[in-house]
C-alpha cells in the first residue's frame, strides 16, 4: 500500500499526457458523451412511452436486452467497425486506438436505466392530476413538462444515477483497447507485472472515488430537485409545487423531450 501513496505523491503522475489530470478528463469525456448520447436516445423514448402508455412492452423488452448485453463484448464487436472508420474520423491506431468503441459501448450500457426510469417515473404520476390538467386546458406538452416530469424527476434522476455509476465504473475496460481514461492506470499496471500493482490500486481508487463522488453529487441534485427543479438537459422544468399555476409563456418543449 505504500507504493500506492508513492504513486499519488509522485509529481510525474500528475503531469503530461499520461498523468492523472489528463486521464481523469478523458474518463469524464468518455462517460459524459456516453451519458449525453444515451439521454438523447433513451429519455425521449422513455418519456413518450411513459406519457402515452404506448409501446411499453417493446421498450421494456429492448431495455432488458440492453441490460443483457455485456459491455466488453460490445466493445470488441464494434472494434472492426471503428478500425475501418478510423481514417474517416481521424484517429489512428497508434494514437491510442480511439474513443469510438468505448463511447458506443458505454452509451448502450446507459440507455436501459435512463429509459426505464423515465417510463416508470411518468407512470407513477397520479392519473387524476393529469386528468385535472387536461381539464384545465393544458396541452400535452405542457402536462409533460410542468406536471409529469417535475413529479417524476426523482425517479428520472435515479435512472441517471444508475447509468452514470455504471458508465464511470465500466469505462475502465476501454483501456484494454488502448483507449484513454483512468482505466489506463489499471491496464498499464497489469502489463508491468508486480511493479505495476501501485498503478492498479491507484487506478481502482481513482475510478471508485470518481464514481462514488459523482453519485453523491447526483444524489444531492436528486434530493434538492423536488423544491427547485433540476437541469437534466432542460431548463424548462419547474418545481412541481408551481405546477398548479398556469405556466407562463408556453414555450416550446426543448429538443430531446419529444
Amino acid at each position: 500500500m505504500e507504493g500506492v501513496l508513492d504513486f499519488f505523491l509522485d509529481p510525474a503522475n500528475w503531469t503530461g499526457a499520461l498523468g492523472i489530470p489528463v486521464r481523469l478528463i478523458e474518463h469524464l469525456y468518455i462517460s459524459g458523451i456516453a451519458i449525453v448520447a444515451a439521454t438523447i436516445v433513451g429519455l425521449p423514448v422513455g418519456l413518450y412511452i411513459g406519457h402515452t402508455g404506448r409501446g411499453a412492452n417493446l421498450a421494456i423488452n429492448l431495455a432488458n436486452i440492453g441490460r443483457a448485453v455485456p459491455s466488453y463484448a460490445i466493445l470488441v464487436i464494434i472494434l472492426p467497425l471503428s478500425l475501418s472508420l478510423a481514417p474517416v474520423i481521424g484517429y489512428t491506431p497508434e494514437a491510442g486506438l480511439n474513443f469510438l468503441p468505448i463511447v458506443i459501448s458505454m452509451s448502450l450500457l446507459a440507455i436501459p436505466p435512463i429509459l426505464v426510469n423515465a417510463y416508470a417515473g411518468l407512470r407513477s404520476v397520479d392519473r387524476d392530476l393529469i386528468e385535472a390538467a387536461r381539464g384545465m386546458g393544458l396541452r400535452e406538452s405542457q402536462i409533460l413538462r410542468t406536471i409529469e416530469m417535475p413529479i417524476a424527476s426523482p425517479i428520472i434522476i435515479g435512472g441517471f444515477r444508475t447509468a452514470t455509476l455504471q458508465v464511470i465504473a465500466t469505462a475502465t475496460i476501454g483501456a484494454i483497447l488502448a483507449s484513454g481514461g483512468l482505466g489506463r492506470f489499471i491496464f498499464d499496471g497489469i502489463n508491468q507485472g508486480l511493479a505495476g500493482q501501485p498503478s492498479i490500486y491507484a487506478g481502482a481508487i481513482l475510478v471508485t472515488a470518481l464514481a462514488v463522488g459523482t453519485d453523491f453529487l447526483l444524489s444531492i441534485i436528486q434530493r434538492r430537485l423536488t423544491p427547485r427543479g433540476l437541469r437534466v438537459g432542460s431548463r424548462q422544468i419547474r418545481p412541481w409545487r408551481q405546477a398548479a399555476e398556469v405556466p407562463r409563456g408556453g414555450g416550446e418543449v426543448g429538443p430531446g423531450f419529444v
Binding site: A73, I176, I200
Partner: protein, 223 residues
C-alpha cells in the same frame, strides 16, 4: 490489418469447434460458481438485514462499493495474492453478484403482504417454518429477477478476467488471444458467443420464473 482478408474465417471456426466448446463450458463454470456462492452469501445477508433493518443500509453500502470497484482492477489486485488460480477470477465475480442479489432478496421478502405473515403466525407457524413455507416461496419472483440480472452480469464480467492471464479460460480467453494476435475471427467469436450466452441465461430465468411461480400468471389471482 483488415484489408484483403475476410473479417470472419469460417474455416478456422470449423477446425476449432472442440476448443470453442471447451471455452463455453469453462465460461459456464466461471458463471455458475460465483452465482451459487454469491446467492448463498446474499441469502444470509438478506435474512439478517430483514430481521435487523438497521443493518440493511450498511450492507448495501458495502456491497455497493464492492460493485463499483472496476472489474479489471479487482482481478488485477487479486493476482499477486492468489496467483493465476481460479480464486482470482471467482472472488470478484462473486462479490459483484452481492449487491444485486441482496437488494432483490430483501425486496422479495418485503413484498410478502403483512396479512399473510400474520395468518401464518395465527396458524401456529414458528419463525423458521414461516420463513421456509411462506416467505421464501412468495419472495421467489423478485429473487429470481435478481439471479437473472446477476447471471447476465457475471457472464459479461467473466470475459474480462482473461485480460489478466490465460489460466481462467472461458470466452474471454478467445477475445484476449484474438486481440493480441489481431485475429478478428477469434475475438468476434468470443464476444458474440458471450452475448448469446447472456441472452440464453436471461431467457432461461424468464422461463424458470414462469414455471416455478404458477400463481403469478393465474390471471390476477388475489382478490
Amino acid at each position: 490489418m483488415l484489408q484483403g482478408k475476410p473479417l470472419i474465417d469460417f474455416e478456422w471456426i470449423l477446425e476449432h469447434l472442440d476448443d470453442i466448446g471447451e471455452s463455453i463450458l469453462q465460461h459456464l463454470q466461471l458463471t455458475v460458481l460465483p452465482l451459487v456462492i454469491g446467492f448463498a452469501i446474499s441469502m444470509v445477508l438478506a435474512v439478517w438485514a430483514v430481521r435487523q433493518p438497521r443493518f440493511y443500509g450498511p450492507v448495501t453500502v458495502v456491497t455497493g462499493i464492492l460493485y463499483t470497484v472496476p472489474s479489471l482492477a479487482a482481478f488485477a489486485i487479486l493476482r499477486p495474492i492468489f496467483g493465476l488460480t481460479l480464486l482470482t477470477a471467482l472472488i470478484p465475480l462473486t462479490t459483484y453478484t452481492l449487491l444485486i442479489l441482496v437488494r432483490n432478496i430483501v425486496a422479495g421478502f418485503h413484498a410478502v403482504p403483512a396479512d399473510v405473515l400474520e395468518a401464518a403466525e395465527g396458524m401456529g407457524y414458528t419463525r423458521r417454518q414461516r420463513l421456509i413455507r411462506v416467505e421464501l416461496p412468495l419472495a421467489v419472483p423478485l429473487m429470481l429477477a435478481g439471479v437473472r440480472l446477476a447471471s447476465v452480469t457475471t457472464i459479461g464480467l467473466a470475459t474480462v478476467a482473461a485480460v489478466i492471464g490465460d489460466s481462467f479460460g472461458g470466452l474471454g480467453q478467445l477475445i484476449t488471444e484474438g486481440l493480441q494476435t489481431f485475429f478478428p475471427t477469434k475475438y468476434l467469436l468470443g464476444a458474440v458467443l458471450s452475448v448469446v450466452l447472456a441472452f440464453l441465461a436471461d431467457a432461461l430465468f424468464v422461463q424458470l420464473e414462469r414455471i416455478i411461480t404458477p400463481w403469478s400468471r393465474a390471471g390476477g389471482g388475489a382478490r
